[in-house]
Symmetry: D2
Subunit: 348 residues, 4 copies
C-alpha cells in the first residue's frame, strides 16, 4: 500500500498516517519527493487491508491510497504457479483436455432430458447441464422442477453415462443438490451470495462458479476465494457475459479476453458459457470456437432436442444437430490449441 500526501501536507499529517499504520503492527517507509509518499513494505494481513485503507483515506492531508498488491491469495497464480486440474469422477478439467458441458436450460421432464442427454453424449459432451432450481428475473416465469428435477437428472445421467452440473441457489440446499449432481453450479446472480459460497466451500464438491454480469476480475476471484478458503479447491471459473450499454443485438457482452486474464492471474480452470454470453443461437458456434482458441478449458452450452419447444431460453439454445456439428469443429480445432476434446467413458 502506498499513501500519497497532498502538496503542502504537514509533518503532523504525515505523522498521523504513520501512527495509524503502526497501530496495526506494520512498518512504514517514507518516500520524500515532489510530494511525500508513505509505503508499507511488509505484507499486510488480508483482514487489515480494507479497513486500513478506508481509515487512511479520511486522514487530513492524504491525497490517495493505492493498493500495490492483489486482494486474493488462494486463487492467485503468484502463490500457486501450477494450473489446478479439477478431477470430477475421472474427468480432468483444467489440463490438456477440453471438456464440453451441454444440455437444456431447464429440466422439463424425463423424456426431454433423456433425449437431450443421449444426443449431447453421443456428440461428445461429458457433462449434462440442466436447471432444476431456476433463477428467473420475473416471478411469473417457469421456476423449475426442484428436487424432482434433480432425481430425473440423476437417473438419466446414470443411464446415459454422463456427468452432471446443476445450479444451487440457496445455502440450505447445497447438501441436497450435492447429493444428486457431480458439479454444483453457482449462478451469475449468486456470485456474491456469500452464505452460499461458504456452504459450497464446505461441501468439497466440484463447483462451477459463474462470473456476475458486473463483477470485476478481482471480485470474481475473491468470490472463488470464499470457496477455496472454506477448504474446497475444486473450483472452476465460468465467464458468461457482462452487462453492456448495448442490448439491441446480444443479451450480454462476452468477455473472451477474461479467459486470458484469468488463466494468467489464477491457476483455476476457466469455462466459457457462450449461450448466456451472447444469447443468440446463430452466433454461438463461432463464439464457442473462439473460446477454445482464446484458451478456455471447456464450454457450457444450452442444447435442446427441439428449441422451439423449450420452456426457457429458446432463443439461445442450439438444436442437437447444430451442437453435433459444433463438436466436430471443436475436434478439428483442438490440436491448434494443443487440446483434445475429451471423449472418455464415465464410470457409473
Amino acid at each position: 500500500m502506498v499513501i500519497t500526501m497532498k502538496p503542502g501536507a504537514t509533518e503532523e499529517q504525515i505523522q498521523a498516517v504513520c501512527s495509524t499504520i503502526e497501530e496495526y503492527g506494520l512498518d512504514t517507509l517514507l518516500m520524500p519527493g515532489s510530494v511525500m509518499a508513505i509505503g508499507i513494505p511488509s505484507a499486510i494481513p488480508a483482514d487489515v487491508r480494507e479497513p486500513l485503507a478506508q481509515k487512511l483515506q479520511i486522514l487530513p492531508g492524504v491525497s490517495q491510497v493505492t493498493h500495490v498488491s492483489r486482494s486474493y491469495k488462494l486463487a492467485s497464480r503468484e502463490f500457486h504457479p501450477a494450473s489446478t486440474v479439477v478431477n470430477v469422477r475421472g474427468v480432468h478439467i483444467g489440463g490438456t483436455d477440453f471438456v464440453v458441458m451441454a444440455g437444456p436450460c431447464s429440466i422439463e421432464g424425463y423424456e426431454q432430458l433423456s433425449e437431450a442427454a443421449k444426443e449431447v453424449r453421443a456428440a461428445g459432451a461429458l457433462v449434462l447441464r440442466g436447471g432444476a432450481f431456476k433463477p428467473r428475473t420475473s416471478p411469473y416465469s417457469f421456476q423449475g422442477l426442484a428436487v424432482e428435477g434433480l432425481k430425473i437428472m440423476r437417473q438419466v445421467a446414470d443411464e446415459v453415462g454422463i456427468l452432471t452440473v446443476s445450479e444451487v441457489m440457496s445455502p440450505d440446499l447445497v447438501e441436497t443438490v450435492a447429493e444428486y449432481v457431480d458439479i454444483l453450479q453457482i449462478g451469475a446472480r449468486s456470485m456474491q451470495n456469500l452464505p452460499l459460497l461458504i456452504e459450497a466451500g464446505k461441501s468439497g464438491k466440484p463447483v462451477l462458479l459463474k462470473r456476475g454480469p458486473a463483477a470485476t476480475i478481482d471480485e470474481f476471484l475473491l468470490a472463488a476465494e470464499y470457496i477455496l478458503s472454506n477448504g474446497n479447491s475444486n473450483v472452476m471459473l465460468c465467464e458468461r457475459g457482462l452487462v453492456s450499454f448495448d442490448r439491441s443485438y446480444t443479451r450480454n457482452l462476452l468477455d473472451l479476453a477474461a479467459v486470458q486474464v484469468l488463466k494468467d492471474h489464477s491457476h483455476l480452470p476457466v469455462i466459457v458459457d457462450p449461450s448466456h454470453g451472447v444469447g443468440v443461437a446463430k452466433y454461438i458456434p463461432a463464439m464457442s470456437c473462439a473460446a477454445l482458441v482464446a484458451g478456455a478449458d471447456g464450454l457450457l452450452i444450452e442444447v435442446h432436442p427441439d428449441p422451439r419447444r423449450a420452456m426457457s431460453d429458446a432463443a439461445q439454445t442450439l438444436d442437437t444437430k447444430t451442437f453435433a456439428e459444433l463438436m466436430e469443429s471443436l475436434r478439428r480445432l483442438g490440436p491448434f490449441s494443443k487440446r483434445s476434446i475429451c471423449e472418455q467413458a464415465i464410470a457409473v
Copy 2:
C-alpha cells in the same frame, strides 16, 4: 408484443409466427406495410411473455421481437396509481414525511451502537441502521456479529426509542432477523437472490430492497415484484449507486434520476443511500440534499461516533456532528420539496 418480419419474409413464415402465438391462446393482428409486422392485441399472461418472445425470435423470417408493455405489474403505477405509504410501527414512509435512517456500517458492540443510536436519534433520524450479517467482498474482512449483533441492536433501539433496519442475507435467516428488526434490508448483492425475496415476501415485514449495482429499472422492479407477489406490499426501493467505468474518485455512480423514474413508474417509496452511492464522506451531505430535492422519500446514511475507529466503510461514514448539520440542512430544505423531516416519537 410486436413481431417485425424481414423484408421478403414469406407467407409461410408469417403463418408460422401466427401459429406459434395462437398456440398460447392469443390473437394476432397483421400490420402490412413496408415490412410485415404482427401485433398481439390482447394482454399476454405474465408467465407466457418471456418464453413466447424467445420462441418467436428463432423462427425463420423474423427480424425483431419488441415488447410494448412492461414486465412488472404489482410494482407498476399504471395499475396502482396511488403512492404506497409503508407504515413501520407508526412511521409513514412514502407520503409527505421524509424519513432518515442512519447508523454505523457494522454493529461492533453495545457501546458503539448505543452511542450512535442516541446521537442519530437526537439529530432527527427515526431508523437506526447497522449490519449484523455483513456481505463482504473479501473472505478476509470482518463478517459481523451475527445474531449477537441483532440482540444488541434490539436492546439499544428499545432504550433509545428508534426503529431498526438490518440486512438479511439468507432465506433461512429471514425469520430470525425479522424477530429482532423492524425493517428487513435486502442488500444490493442479493437483489436477485430469489429464494430470499420469496421468504421476505412471505414474512410480511417491511422490506428495504436495494438496487443491484448493475440492475436495470425493470430488473429492480421485477425483484420487488417477487416480494409483492408473495403477499407483502410493504416494499421500499433503495437506490445506492451503480457500477461505473470510472472508479477513481467515487465508489459507485449514484443514479439520482432513478428517483424520478421510480416514482413515475412505480407506487413504492424510494430511499437513497448516498454513503454507498458515492463512497466518499465529504460528498455525502450535498448528495443527500440533492436526493431530497430529486424527490426521494428518505435516506439511508452511514454514521459512526468515530469513523476513524469504524471496523468497515470508514471512508464513507459521517461523524455524528456532520450528520447533525446535514439534518439541519434537510430541515431547511424540506419545505422546498413539500416534505417535512419526520420527528415523531417511536412507541417502544
Copy 3:
C-alpha cells in the same frame, strides 16, 4: 509512480527497472518488503509519465505499475486552489452567481429563436443556447442552419440583451463561430477532438466543454487541459449524462456526484445539462434543482416556445411556461446553497 515486482523477481530484473527509469533522468527508491517495490520520488515530467509506464509494464518480473499522482496539472485544484470565475462580458460564472443557459436544441429560424430568447430572458436566463451546426447520430436527421443560424442568433441576442452559446464541431470553424457567439460549446461527441480543443484553446474565447458520454473524470480534465495549455483559461466543464446499461427510461445517466468531484479536484466552473442528462422533459425540473443543491455553477437547458413543433429533441425540451416555473424554484432554492440566480443586464 510505484512499480511492484512479482514474488521471486531477480536482482537483475529489479536492476532493469531502475535503469529504465534512470534513462529518463529520474531517481529511484527501493522499497524492500513482502515483495520488492520501486518508487520514483521526484516529479515525473508530464510527457514522460505515459511512455515510461508503458515500458515498465513489459519488463520481466514487473507485476504492476501504479500511478500515485493525477495526470492533469493546469485543471487541478492542487496547483490552483482558488476557484476560477469565467467572465463572459460581465457575467461571472463559477462564483456565487448561478447562471442559467437556455434555448432551443436547434436554431430553426428568426421567429422561433426570437420568441425563445425573449421568454427565457424574461424568466431569468442570461445565456441563449441554440445549435447552428448539429451533430446528429443519423445522417438523415436535420443538420442545422450553419452560419445562417449563427447570424440569426447574433441578431436575436443583440435585440434581446442576452449572451449566447453554440456548438462548434470542427477546428476550421472555430474562428467563424467565435465571431458570432459569446461562448463556444464543445459537444460531448467532440470532447476528445484534439485539433478542435487546440483551436478552441488558441481562440481565447470562453469555452463550455461537455463531458463525453463514456469519459472518466481524468479524461474530462485532460481534455480541459488541452484548452488550458493552449493559453485559454476560460473553460467551463459541463456534465450531461453518461452512457448506461439501462436505456429504457432515460437517455443517459446523469452523474450529479461528478459536480462534487469536479469542484473538489478542479478549480473550473461546473455546469449541468439535465436535458441531455435525462432526456425526458418531465424529470428535468427536479434534476435541475438537484444540480443546484449538488453544487453546480449553472445549468444548460433545452427550452422551446412549442416543443411539439421542435425540429429536434422535442422529448427533452421544456416549454417556456415550465421553464419560468423552474426559474422560480431555483430562485427560492438559491439561498439554501448560498447562490443567487444572476439577473443582471447584458450590455449590448
Copy 4:
C-alpha cells in the same frame, strides 16, 4: 414504429397521436387490445424517424414509442445481402482473404518505420499501420510527426511493397492524408466526428472506421452510414474494444461477438484491433486467433522492432518475432475458417 398508449388513454389522446403521425403524410393502424397501440405500417422516411418519435413521446396518454426497424439503411445487409469486398489497390478485404495490417503505434522516423515495414511484410502483413497525427488523451504526450511522418510512410511503403493505413483526425486534413496513404483510418475518438465522416465520404478513399469505445452497434453503423451516404462504399468496420467497469487488467473490453453481429446485420468488412482491444501484449496472439475464428476479415496490430524503445503504446505492442509466430498460427488456423492469409504482391 409502434406507439403504446397508457391504460385509460382517451379517444382524444389517441386521435392526437394519429394526427401527429398523419401530419408527416404517414398512415396509422389502430391495434386495440389490453391497451391501445398505434402502428405506422408504411416506411418512415429516414429524416422523419427521430423527430416524430420525440414528438410522440411527449403527447398525453402515450406510454411508449417503439422502433421496429433499424435506423441505418445503406450499411444494412437487409437491403444489400451480398458482402462488400473493398478493393485496395488489388488487395481484397471482406472476401475469403484474411488481411493483416501491422506496424508501430507512431511513426518515429525512417529507420524505425522501414525496419518495421520490412519485418511485418516478410511475416505476411499486407498493410503497414503507423500514426502520423496522434490523438493523445494528454496534451503532454508525443503528438506525432504529422505530414513529415506521412512522407516517410509513403517512401517506406513504396520501397517495401506494402499498403498503408494512417489516422486522419480533422476534416481539413482528409485531402492531405488521402494523398499519402492507401486507407484512411478514422479513430475511435472520432467515430462521431461528423464533419470528418462527411469529408472521408467525399474523398472516395477506402476508410477504416473504428468503433467508439462506448458506441452501440446502431451508432457504429450510423457513423458508417455518414460515409456511405456521401458516396463512398469502401468502408471497413473496426472493433477495438469497449469501455468497461474493470480496467485493472486490460485497457478495454474487446467485443468479439460484435464481429458476428456486424457480419450478420451489415455487408461491410470487419477488422479487429486486439492491440487496443486488450492493451496487454502477451494476450494479443490468442485474441488475434480468436478474432479469425469469430469471423473477422482481418486484423490491425501494433508491432515495433523494439517495443521497449517505442514512443507510445509499448505495453500493447508485439515485437517482430512474436508477430511472425502469430502470422504462422493464423496461417495454420485460416483453413478452419475457410480463409487464406492473403500473401499477394503489392504493385508499387
